[in-house]
């Protein structure tokens, strides 16, 4: 089923017609209702340490949440109105980032759409899709997304709270210790502990937050 926007012109829902399967498909073999329009939102407590595919060049960046703009989801209203939903989200500390708020390289916004079963499927701009044997293969330009996140931090003047950073590091350290304790008898725990140890060193050692920079400048 799809969220039905009440009262909008052209709001009659279409019948679910036959969609050609196989290599000749003209639409993505995904349901549009499962990929509604969305907005990204920032919360000051949701940060993580992002690295490249080799686990290097790490930096602290926010972990954004996807707000589905689908009637019935998180107080999006019957006519698609977002105002009540946005009010509640802001009261809870979320900041909504509109699609064109921060420039996305090579695109107008951070949302792209594909024809899919039952309408348009919405994906982030960094997702590429190719059809292979009638099935979609999705890939993400992770570096491109991380670069955009860095631009968001700069543009929106976001700052990783040092206490939040400490909490996240403490959580990872606790996991690291737990894996180290198992390492002697559990090879997977040993491998996790080694990787986590390097990650922790990088998390503690580099890319200071603005607060850290300010403290360093104040010495």
């Amino acid at each position: 089923m799809a969220g039905f926007t009440e009262g909008k012109s052209g709001g009659s829902i279409k019948g679910q017609g036959y969609v050609a399967a196989g290599a000749q498909a003209k639409v993505l073999a995904v349901h549009a209702a499962d990929h509604p329009d969305f907005r990204l939102a920032y919360h000051p407590r949701r940060w993580d340490f992002f690295t490249d595919s080799k686990g290097e060049n790490g930096r602290w960046l926010p972990v954004l949440r996807r707000i589905a703009l689908s009637p019935g989801t998180n107080n999006i209203d019957k006519d698609g109105s977002k105002s009540y939903a946005y009010t509640l989200l802001r009261e809870a500390g979320w900041e909504i980032i509109e699609p064109d708020r921060v420039e996305v390289q090579g695109a107008d916004s951070y949302i792209q759409v594909f024809p899919a079963i039952g309408g348009l499927a919405h994906y982030p701009a960094w997702t590429s899709v190719k059809m292979n044997g009638g099935k979609p293969i999705f890939k993400t330009d992770e570096q491109g997304y991380q670069n955009w996140l860095a631009a968001v931090v700069e543009e929106l003047d976001l700052e990783l709270d040092p206490d939040v950073k400490e909490m996240i590091i403490a959580r990872i350290e606790a996991e690291h210790v737990a894996d180290l304790a198992e390492a002697a008898v559990n090879l997977k725990a040993k491998i996790r502990a080694e990787a986590q140890g390097k990650r922790l060193d990088a998390m503690k050692g580099n890319v200071p937050s603005k607060a850290d920079k300010a403290k360093a400048g104040g010495k």
Partner: protein, 308 residues
């Protein structure tokens, strides 16, 4: 010798394929969180004057007494309370069937095409509700797991610990993407000692519904391919939550007397039938009036880990 009666020669007396008299279900994710006991039901909006259902979160008993010196007066303490709102909206799916399609349906001895399409709409409704719930549970501010790193049993304990830190009482439910379930199972293979994953049995699946894959450390695990991605698709965002962390509400239209329609028994869905005699068409429209929202942020932990 010429003139043998081969299959080709009997072409006027044969068919190219015959239809097996059993419909086999196409492979797909039919897991459902609709009406799962972990979701708090706030009630129906029928007759309430609004499509928004609101529930009070009362914290009056959380404020402890304080010592008051002899002869002094106590002062007022404000009550900490909050509320959760759920907005109900229409979810729908429509199919149109021509008379020719319906009358030539070859499974009529089992059920008519109209009946088949109508009953299938229960699945469509459940899928929609599950999709809405999965769109919510990626948004808890507490998180476990790390971007780009596979989910592991260590992350599992972190998530469980965070819930317990927040004074959440069990039972808990984990809603995980297939990749996360796979990573957890792989991580558990190497574990020794009393840790045990209890896989789903057919009897348990019948009780807990499709999507239930087992339990670990007393936490039920629900797997769904509708769990959303995070970080532009680089990660997936499941969750572990206490019962009641997500609330839902519904509404049910009162069927018109004389209008065709079917109330499905599996939940709050209604399938209406609309006849277009001129076009020889029957429209089958499934309706679900449903909404869901996060009840309390501290009742859940979003688990954000590497996507496949």
């Amino acid at each position: 010798m010429a003139g043998e009666l081969t299959l080709s020669a009997l072409s006027d007396a044969t068919v190219s394929a015959s239809l097996h008299q059993e419909i086999i279900r196409k492979l797909g994710d039919r897991a459902s969180l609709l009406m799962h006991p972990a979701m708090r039901y706030l009630g129906s909006v029928n007759g309430t004057g609004s499509n928004v259902k609101k529930a009070t979160l009362w914290g009056g008993d959380l404020d402890a007494m304080a010592a008051v010196a002899e002869g002094s007066s106590a002062s007022n303490t404000a009550i900490t309370n909050a509320s959760v709102s759920v907005t109900v909206a229409r979810q729908a799916i429509q199919r149109s069937v021509t008379d020719l399609g319906a009358l030539t349906w070859s499974y009529s001895n089992i059920e008519s095409l109209i009946e088949k399409l109508s009953s299938d709409m229960a699945g469509s409704a459940k899928r929609r509700a599950t999709s809405i719930i999965c769109d919510i549970v990626d948004g808890f501010t507490l998180t476990a797991g790390s971007t780009g790193v596979d989910f592991s049993v260590t992350n599992w304990f972190t998530a469980q610990g965070l819930l317990q830190d927040g004074s959440n009482e069990g039972p808990f439910l984990a809603i995980l993407a297939p990749e996360q379930v796979k990573n957890l199972q792989a991580s558990l293979r190497a574990e020794t000692g009393p840790l045990q994953f209890h896989p789903a049995t057919p009897e348990l699946m019948a009780i807990k519904g499709q999507g239930y894959v087992g339990s670990f450390m007393g936490v039920d695990i629900f797997q769904s391919s509708l769990v959303v991605t995070a970080n532009a698709g680089a990660d997936v965002a499941g969750c572990m939550m206490a019962y009641g962390a997500v609330s839902w509400a519904d509404g049910f239209p009162t069927p018109l007397i004389g209008a065709g329609g079917i109330k499905l028994s599996e939940g709050p869905f209604y399938v209406g039938l609309e006849r277009d005699e001129s076009g020889g068409l029957t429209k089958v429209v499934g309706n679900l009036y449903f909404g869901a929202a996060m009840t309390q942020d501290a009742m859940g932990v979003s688990i954000i880990t590497d996507a496949p």
